[in-house]
Amino acid sequence: MEAALETIGLFKRFGGLLATNDVSLAVERGEIRGLIGPNGAGKTTLVNLVTGVHAPDTGEVKLGGQSLRGRGMHEIARLGLVRSFQVTRLFGNMTVRENLMTSFLARRDREAGDGAGQTEGMIELTRLGPLADTQAKKLSGGQRALLQMACGFVVPANCYVLDEPFAGINPVIKDAIIDMILDVNRRHRATFLVVSHEMAIIRRLCQQVTVMMEGRVAAQGTLDEVARLPEVIAGYLGKALE
């Protein structure tokens, strides 16, 4: 069967730094894959290569068997790959509702009418109702992260690449985001690649994790399997993975 998201031998060099070194991985449709590794291992670079922010020096990314070579960020987004950023990219001067509406800009013809109904549904689901007409820049960090996730989920996509969706967020909002991920995964068989340092959440969400170290794929398996590997323990400076 064709993998939903596949990278084949990705190399990317920034000056003297080989940020990704022959990274190949394949995520099956409906899988939630964790991507872990110490800081500077190349996780965000990999996310940027997959979503078209950077072009790889060599290698290729395939989404549902289709090559993404030469496609820009917006074309990849239209093919149904949604990403979230480590630092939220919201439209600060626009309201929560308007931020959600932007998700329909490119896709409103195909799926969902004008998006007004889904937008209201998502506002209810995320309990952002009292803030619906507040500018996004006035939200707290956690609320922003939640809104960014909601923007990604309001129009269901095939594939999600989430870069540190849980960093610096209170536990209640963390749970809300986890519920949204599981819900979209179950209902639409959406595929996920989740970068996170939060091992408890990774254990809860992901059957399989990929470990990156110094730009390469160091290991792959269940979290408990990879946590026992000596090279993984060494890469995390001798700390056990918890």
């Binding site: 917006h74 990403r83 919201l90 439209f91 600060g92 932007t102 820049k137």
Partner: protein
């Protein structure tokens, strides 16, 4: 001392010219807020608009159809703006963001010189006037030049249309989103190059519209865009770069100050009053009335 009529007339004429200045400033600020670059050739798009208006009225449509020539002139400048974005500006945006400002400055300054020289080469350094057969309008006891009133009404209509499209249409949402995060809209599946093209076209069309509307008042010649461009930048400094309400309010403010200064202090120094206001704003509020410090990610 001063008659009430004189004060009222001065205020009205100040507001009327201020709205026209605001068109220029709005174009500058709009292009900046989407593309994060300054278009230094704004006055040349104004100039093209005025030449188109003159050519249409004098050679093709006749003075009675001046109102039809205005949207055609503005549309012509819009189309030219699309070509400029596609041929000259789009390649710049493939470069890293740090280099864009510099490249855009060089490209638009070169365009300024090219277009001015072309106008001189094609039509000579002469001044043309499309004339105006509009009657003088009486507001109460006060006479107002018909061409100015018409320009004011057209400009108000264009501003209202611009505001409604930006506020209530899907494309307006895409434009507003692009002005706040170019990366963010791409993740929403929007082609920013396409948005840039429309934004640049609309921005320069606002200048072209001002040129067409003011052609009977300020005449048509190769460097006629200079004064209104300077006013446009003054307004942008007063109102705050990137702020649309700032451009409108500061435009009217500048028109008022010039008009009142000319009437009650000395009309020889008309251009000085605006600069004094700019200096005052720079001292008191360096980001302008509505400007924000820095950029949001």
């Amino acid at each position: 001392m001063f008659s009430t009529e004189l004060v009222v007339q001065t205020v009205i004429s100040g507001v009327m010219i201020g709205v026209l200045y605001a068109l220029m400033a709005l174009g500058i600020t709009f292009i900046y807020s989407i593309m994060r670059m300054i278009n230094w050739a704004m006055g040349e798009f104004y100039m093209i608009g005025s030449y188109l208006q003159y050519a249409l009225v004098a050679l093709l449509l006749g003075p009675d159809l001046w109102w039809l020539a205005i949207p055609i002139s503005a549309a012509g400048v819009f189309a030219f703006g699309l070509v400029v974005q596609w041929s000259l500006l789009k390649p710049i945006f493939r470069k890293p963001p740090e280099a864009r400002d510099d490249y855009a400055t060089v490209v638009t300054l070169a365009l300024l010189l090219l277009l001015r020289s072309l106008a001189t080469g094609l039509a000579g350094p002469n001044q043309f006037s499309p004339g105006s057969n509009l009657p003088v309008v009486m507001v109460g006891p006060m006479p107002l030049a018909g061409a100015r009133v018409a320009a004011f009404v057209f400009a108000l209509g264009a501003l209202a249309l611009f505001y409604c499209l930006l506020r209530y249409s899907w494309y307006g949402l895409a434009l507003r989103a692009t002005s706040q995060s170019r990366i963010g809209v791409q993740t929403a599946g929007i082609d920013v190059q396409g948005v840039d093209r429309i934004a640049f076209g609309v921005g320069v069309a606002l200048a072209g519209l001002a040129g067409a509307l003011l052609a009977p008042v300020f005449l048509v010649y190769p460097t006629n865009g200079l004064i209104t461009t300077v006013k446009g930048f003054e307004i942008v400094v007063i109102g705050g770069l990137g702020s649309i309400p700032g451009a409108l309010i500061a435009g009217v403010l500048l028109g008022l100050i010039e008009s009142l200064g000319a009437a009650f202090i000395d009309s020889a120094y008309q251009n000085i009053y605006g600069f004094a206001l700019v200096l005052l704003i720079l001292v008191l509020r360096p980001t302008g009335l509505f400007g924000e410090r820095g950029r949001e990610a």
